[in-house]
């Protein structure tokens, strides 16, 4: 019989965090799968109420130390929309550079410190580094470049200080921009080597149908703009998103789960690459050819390779944006608060990040709603665990089951916290 154990679960207000997993095995099958995100709630949506619009980017950055810029960019885009502001091409260009930096930084961290040890058979990156320091160092170099891009526009990679409603407090100097462009150009071969290495990893087979969801806009591979589309025909204005997804609380998690039109779906690098692979330059994808892996892919393990491809893409993209003409004109447009609602969605490193702010005429936030990527992926993650573990066979030692379960979860890069070895797997065996 099943054990309905109530976990004492501190959780976070819908962002990444510590997690636990509970799986019930019943007569050779899986009963319940409970992926618990038990980051203590931090109640950001409440903290935002009554704060002035100017403070919002620095508040929401603190939701996530790994993707603070995505929170900042999404919040300023939403507030600008609410105020009817149009900051213009230069500011849009530098925001894309900032997003590139964060993708590179976040993806490099996830691949090297969190996910790759799963495919290489090491317990952690430190142990991997003792055996193969060169490969890990390449990851560190790419991570540092992503951080340097974020620092160019915000002084530091965690909670950068450069972005504001209307644009940036200042643009980087020509000298700073040029120096970083040179570093990036010199590092492109590293990114290409990373993609080839990632393509050659030994990925377990997996073929599960799922719906990929991401943005689609005029700016090429999606980052900071566009409609919300899927490979099953969805095509939504971000303003309509909240009416099509259903968020619900499950007893074992303080992160909400979400369904799009009643179904689980995937957001993040693999979803983006599945839908927009044609926007990645041919020569970047050519590094994958010899592996036989093709996108779109229904193997979630390939999300690691998708991250590597996005790192190379984001380096190339940021280089070409940095090498554009030096910015002319002011770094921000002045904000004039008006009463109203502003909604925006961007592609954070882990997928669609959606913000809505109800703003008063004095510029204070009346109400805020934030839908982060991880809660969107959580239903699919649990389905994947159930099916993939059953398919691989349950009559195995718990250690093997635990490792598989951890790898499956890490494929989704659940907004991080302890995405490496964070799982506290409890296996209840009811067959007896």
């Amino acid at each position: 019989m099943s054990e309905d154990r109530l976990l004492r679960i501190p959780v976070m207000a819908r962002v990444e965090g510590k997690g636990a997993l509970e799986v019930t095995l019943r007569e050779g099958r899986i009963g319940e799968v409970r992926l618990s995100i038990f980051e203590p709630p931090r109640l950001f949506e409440k903290i935002l109420e009554g704060r002035e619009f100017r403070e919002v980017p620095d508040i929401v950055a603190r939701i996530c130390g790994i993707c603070p810029a995505a929170y900042q960019i999404t919040s300023v885009l939403a507030i600008e929309k609410g105020f009817g502001m149009v900051p213009g091409e230069e500011i849009t260009r530098f925001r894309r550079i900032l997003a590139c930096g964060e993708w590179i930084s976040s993806h490099s961290l996830h691949i090297h410190l969190l996910a790759a040890p799963d495919f290489l058979g090491y317990p952690d990156a430190m142990e991997w580094g003792r055996h193969d320091p060169q490969t890990l160092r390449r990851g560190f170099e790419l991570h540092a470049l992503g951080n340097a891009l974020m620092s160019l526009l915000g002084g530091r990679p965690v909670h950068p200080v450069g972005a504001c409603v209307g644009g940036f407090f200042r643009f980087p100097s020509r000298q700073e921009t040029k120096a970083l462009a040179e570093r990036i150009r010199a590092a492109l071969p590293l990114a290409s080597a990373l993609v080839r290495w990632a393509a050659d990893l030994d990925y377990p087979e997996s073929d599960r149908a799922f719906t990929s969801v991401c943005l689609q806009g005029a700016g090429g591979y999606p980052m900071n703009e566009g409609r919300i589309v899927s490979d099953r025909g969805h095509d939504l204005d971000p303003a309509d998103f909240e009416f099509r997804i259903r968020e619900f609380q499950v007893p074992h998690s303080t992160a909400f789960h979400s369904l799009l039109d009643g179904e689980p779906y995937l957001v993040g690098p693999l979803a983006r690459l599945n839908i927009h692979g044609d926007k990645i330059p041919e020569d970047i994808l050519s590094d994958v050819v010899s592996s036989g892996i093709r996108f779109p892919s229904t193997n979630m393990n390939h999300s690691l390779l998708a991250r590597a491809i996005e790192i190379h893409y984001a380096l190339r993209e940021s280089l070409s944006l940095l090498e554009g003409p030096p910015p002319a004109g002011p770094s921000f447009v002045p904000a004039e608060p008006v009463e109203g609602t502003g909604i925006a969605a961007t592609e954070a490193p882990r997928g669609i990040l959606w913000h809505r702010y109800d703003l008063a005429r004095d510029g204070l936030v009346r109400k805020a709603r934030i839908i982060p990527p991880t809660s969107q992926n959580q239903s699919l993650m649990e389905d994947d665990l159930r099916e993939s573990l059953e398919r691989a066979g349950l009559d195995r030692p718990e250690e093997a089951l635990r490792k598989d379960a951890e790898r499956i979860v890490r494929n989704y890069d659940p907004c991080i916290s302890c995405a490496t070895h964070f799982l506290d797997l409890t296996v209840h065996r009811d067959d007896g």
Binding site: R8, P41, G155, H159, H421
Partner: protein
């Protein structure tokens, strides 16, 4: 380094002396301060050779929290489970170090301490399943802390600097300079003097390198209050720059709202005037 009564010999270790045992723990936080470790690059690998990283969930190791030489804690206390864990880990740690605003002052989420009404039930349909304390508080409100590293986030230099001292059994010198001094050192023109931008630099600890002024904006206090901060006179100068009392309150009640000096000044201006 000798750690009588705390360090344990490593099983199978070939080193003659046991390596110092280190843990990095996380409470309620954004994980950004742990990145000060994870972003160390090569130095992280060096560190993992010099010390035994016993427990650091985000990096992998999940060893038992016993016999620790240095324990770093990120995040604020906001659940019963975390409170129990901190009580226990204090007993097991020779040095306990808080990293970042959350662990040191309660963090941005301490703003909820100032709110009225049932916050949780307004966000979660079933709040009763959530383990949650009334207030978000710093680690030092529960147990003695040997070293507090301020910052939102802390930097890799703060981490490495403190490790170097602590591995020799000594507490590092405490930084007490204000952001203002850092601007002068770096030759950054004062944003208040030259552009009339309100700036918390005169009352905030340095450590960031005066980042915000270098980006043409005022400091917002993420490294917390400096020693003997003249919060009231700065607040009056904010008033002179045209800030309303509620704007002055929000300046102080932000990243480190629960730090006593900022909390006191922020409250003083709450409700319309400074009560002076």
């Amino acid at each position: 380094m000798t750690m009588s009564g705390s360090a344990r010999p490593e099983e199978g270790s070939k080193t003659p002396h046991p390596k110092p045992r280190i843990a990095v723990l996380k409470l309620a936080s954004c994980d950004g301060c742990q990145l000060a470790f994870l972003g160390l690059g090569d130095k992280l690998l060096e560190l993992s050779g010099q010390v035994e990283i016993v427990h650091f969930a985000e990096a992998g190791p999940l060893g038992p929290l016993t016999g620790l030489d240095i324990t770093f804690i990120e995040g604020s206390l906001s659940t019963r489970e975390d409170r129990d864990m901190v009580l226990s880990v204090r007993k097991e740690s020779r040095f306990l170090v808080t990293i970042g605003a959350c662990a040191t002052s309660g963090g941005i989420q301490a703003l909820r301490n100032l709110a009225s009404g049932p916050l949780l039930s307004s966000l979660y349909p079933s709040p009763e399943v959530i383990d949650f304390l009334d207030q978000s508080t710093p680690v030092a409100s529960l147990v003695p802390v040997d070293l507090e590293l301020w910052g939102c986030p802390v930097t890799g230099d703060q981490i490495l600097g403190s490790l170097r001292s602590l591995l020799f059994g000594a507490l590092p010198p405490v930084q007490t300079d204000k952001v203002c001094l850092e601007c002068k050192r770096r030759g950054i023109a004062c944003v208040t003097v030259t552009k009339q931008i309100p700036c918390l630099g005169p009352v905030t600890l340095t450590g960031c390198g005066a980042l915000c002024p270098s980006f043409d904006r005022g400091c917002y206090g993420c490294f917390g209050p400096a020693e003997n901060p003249e919060t009231s006179s700065l607040a009056r100068s904010f008033s002179g720059l045209g800030l309303t009392p509620s704007e002055i309150t929000r300046r102080y009640l932000f990243i480190n709202s629960n730090a006593p000096a900022f909390l006191k000044e922020g409250r003083r201006w709450q409700g319309g005037d400074s009560h002076e």
